[in-house]
Symmetry: C2
Subunit: 448 residues, 2 copies
């Protein structure tokens, strides 16, 4: 691979410029800014690869599709997105959010880590391979959506209508990071999600709180309902909630033990004294990766402004996200929640579904993961860290596992990339290494 690596090193300014230009487009899906421009920029790069490329319309922002045929029909796909999170709060950025300033070996920009750096590294890897070896050893596909940061709301529609486009032998997922110890982190799955809002109503109007002696308060009622859902030991008390959770395999246990998690740095950064339930070490890592959660994202009722107001509220609302693990099913979880509320006398608490995603997991032993692990070790001289699952969520199931496609995450971010936060950044060195890694995987995976 030295010929390709040399080409990448000699042309690195070209690829850095590709990345900078894409980062200069403020493609914030939530605010409908720069979306068409970003999609067209990705298409222009795909055209440099002499492949088939098109903008596939959906009911929302379009998906950029690209396919470059190689020597064999075996296909490696890349799932990425051209949209980014909003950049605010602007005053906490040390550099403009949409310029792509390089300082201290890092490029700073909203989206540079999540996930324009990964997208451009993959485009560049294909480009460099072609420049040196003329033809790719296998076929590659790019699926680049525009709604990842707003919940991939039309991606299932896309995948169902265009099953032919997403068909592949393996998929490299959008995110990936380097750990504090310098190793690349590879992950093989994502948690699922059941996001619901619970609405509890009382009288038809807010009342003077003197009436609290005789009129039910929906905030208290909602609170008691929530208390029945999870106890102080973080145990979800919905009957059947844990029934479908798989036991960890021996391989997964080993992976947990090998995983590096910088506990002290994390606590210091958050100004906390301990983790939840005082967990540490392997127990902490296992919770983070393999435990389902029930989290209050937001709760509101009554008067929440400055000062005091003596009011008996007429309504209370809570937003809950359940992060789910294989093989929990979000539809089943919502149905169990309904049963639970009914059983506890809360038939009148309404459940509004606000986003259901299945968890997804690729087995540790599969040709794509093996190819990436081997390529990472060859390139960096270190074994990568393998996470059997990521604690986050994404539309992996509807693009990959639903159609039997294994998926693996690896990328050019690092543990302090500040995704979704001010001063988002990647190291230029990681970006170049990421281009080399993908070109190596293209070469290696073709022969597995």
């Amino acid at each position: 691979m030295q010929d390709i690596y040399s080409y990448i090193d000699e042309n690195k300014e070209v690829y850095i410029q590709w990345l900078r230009e894409l980062c200069q487009i403020p493609s914030v899906a939530a605010q409908n800014r720069g979306m068409e421009e970003a999609a067209n920029k990705v298409i222009s790069y795909l055209k440099e690869l002499n492949g088939e490329t098109k903008l596939v319309q959906t009911s929302g922002f379009p998906v950029v599709y690209g396919k470059i045929n190689g020597k064999i029909s075996k296909t490696l796909s890349f799932y990425n997105h051209y949209d980014v999170q909003p950049e605010d709060p602007n005053d906490l950025w040390d550099y403009p959010a949409f310029e792509g300033v390089i300082d201290g070996g890092k490029m700073f920009a909203r989206g540079v880590a999540d996930n324009k750096g990964n997208l451009v590294a993959r485009l560049a890897a294909v480009h460099a391979y072609q420049q040196v070896r003329k033809e790719l050893p296998l076929t590659v596909k790019f699926i680049v959506e525009g709604e990842e940061e707003i919940g991939s709301i039309h991606l299932e529609e896309f995948s169902e209508v265009h099953q032919d486009l997403i068909k592949a032998d393996g998929c490299i997922w959008e995110f990936g990071y380097r750990n504090a110890d310098g190793r690349q982190q590879i992950s093989l799955g994502v948690k699922g999600m059941a996001y619901v809002e619970l609405v509890c109503k009382g009288a038809n109007t807010d009342m003077h709180s003197a009436n609290a002696a005789v009129i039910e308060n929906p905030a208290w009622k909602l609170l008691w309902a929530l208390n029945s859902i999870k106890d102080q030991f973080e145990h979800v008390k919905i009957e059947g909630f844990y029934d479908d959770v798989l036991n960890l395999t021996e391989e997964e246990n080993v992976a947990i033990q090998q995983l590096i998690y910088s506990e002290e740095e994390m606590l210091a950064g958050l100004e906390l004294n301990s983790f939840l339930l005082d967990v540490k070490g392997n127990q902490l890592k296992e919770r983070l990766i393999f435990h389902p959660t029930c989290n209050i994202c937001g709760i509101t009722s009554g008067y929440t402004g400055e000062g005091s107001k003596t009011v008996l509220p007429s309504e209370a609302r809570v937003k809950l996200d359940f992060r789910l693990v294989p093989n929990q099913d979000p539809h089943k979880i919502v149905s169990l929640l309904r049963k639970h509320l009914d059983k506890h006398g809360h038939q009148d608490i309404e459940i509004i579904e606000m986003g259901l995603e299945k968890p997804a997991k690729t087995p540790l032993k599969n040709p794509l993961a093996e190819s990436i692990i081997k390529s990472s070790k060859e390139l960096t001289g270190m074994d990568p860290t393998v996470m059997p699952m990521s604690p986050g969520t994404g539309p992996m199931y509807i693009l990959c596992q639903k159609y039997g496609i294994p998926s693996v995450s690896v990328g050019v971010g690092h543990f302090e990339s500040n995704n979704h936060a001010p001063n988002e950044n990647i190291f230029i060195e990681d970006f170049i290494e990421g281009i080399k890694l993908i070109s190596t995987v293209i070469d290696d995976y073709a022969n597995r």
Copy 2:
């Protein structure tokens, strides 16, 4: 008293005009509108009574004070306020909020029931008595504050500095209503209040909710703390909370039984099927009047806007009002709450005190109450309803019981006066009757 009653009837248009003019001043303390104008208007009426009158400065809006000497030094005082609640929402009013339109025998205006109608009726009673009999049989005082609707925040300061001004043998309190059955309602006390905000903090920043598996969520923590404070049977679980609550006296039990509460109309108006814990009848009335409460006025944490956001909040807040009954002490209740939270592992939940008021109660058997009950019966031909306490709260203790002054509430509102709400109103007939009642009490109380 027929001579005075006749004078009142013959001059009722004068007194209605007094009321209308005061109601036309939008004296909203919370918005600092029309406050000086309203205070001056009250002073101009007091000057008609040929008494001593002055504007007493406080750190907030001034108190209007008036004193009219009578044949004896025995003193009856009137506590009122010249401020009103904000009038919004404007679009729900059938008449302008600050015109004093009369329609169907009622005057409609913000503050006409709470409590400009009572204030003007008392001024008019003194005026009519003087016109007919020249000299009052006893001395009367007016204490008219400007901050009742914003928590009487400087009234304790006023009362401590001006103990000479508030000194009296009995005090007629600001509010009072006629029941659905036409009887006047007399009440002899108010609940106390401990209004607190609880603040629970987590990490120093909102986080991606994937971290909920290992980082504590302050919303859940606050919720479990609240759950430890009150159970689903509405029992407050703070150790010692009920220790100082007095048993009902035989007289109070009788008063509860005699009290009229229109359960069906109340439920229909609120579109509810039942009261809290399905209470009815005497049990309902006893709860309303004699039970302390722990009410959630407002709760907030995390993302409460439209749609979904997967966030682990860094803070959660709740506003609680405890309505207290004799002899509970709000300072002691806050201290018990602190101990309770500490004992349940919530040392890090902060308590912010936002308003502490002691409950106040005047015994059923006292000369002022007896005088009002007798006068009401003589005037209306019906026994009034006597409420040993009101479910509401007010600064009664700091003006009356603290200095041994008995206090009784009676006034010109009715059960559908819509205090604090659109279309606030009183019946003109009740207003005229209220003037007659106060003139009768002045006459009767002088001889007790």
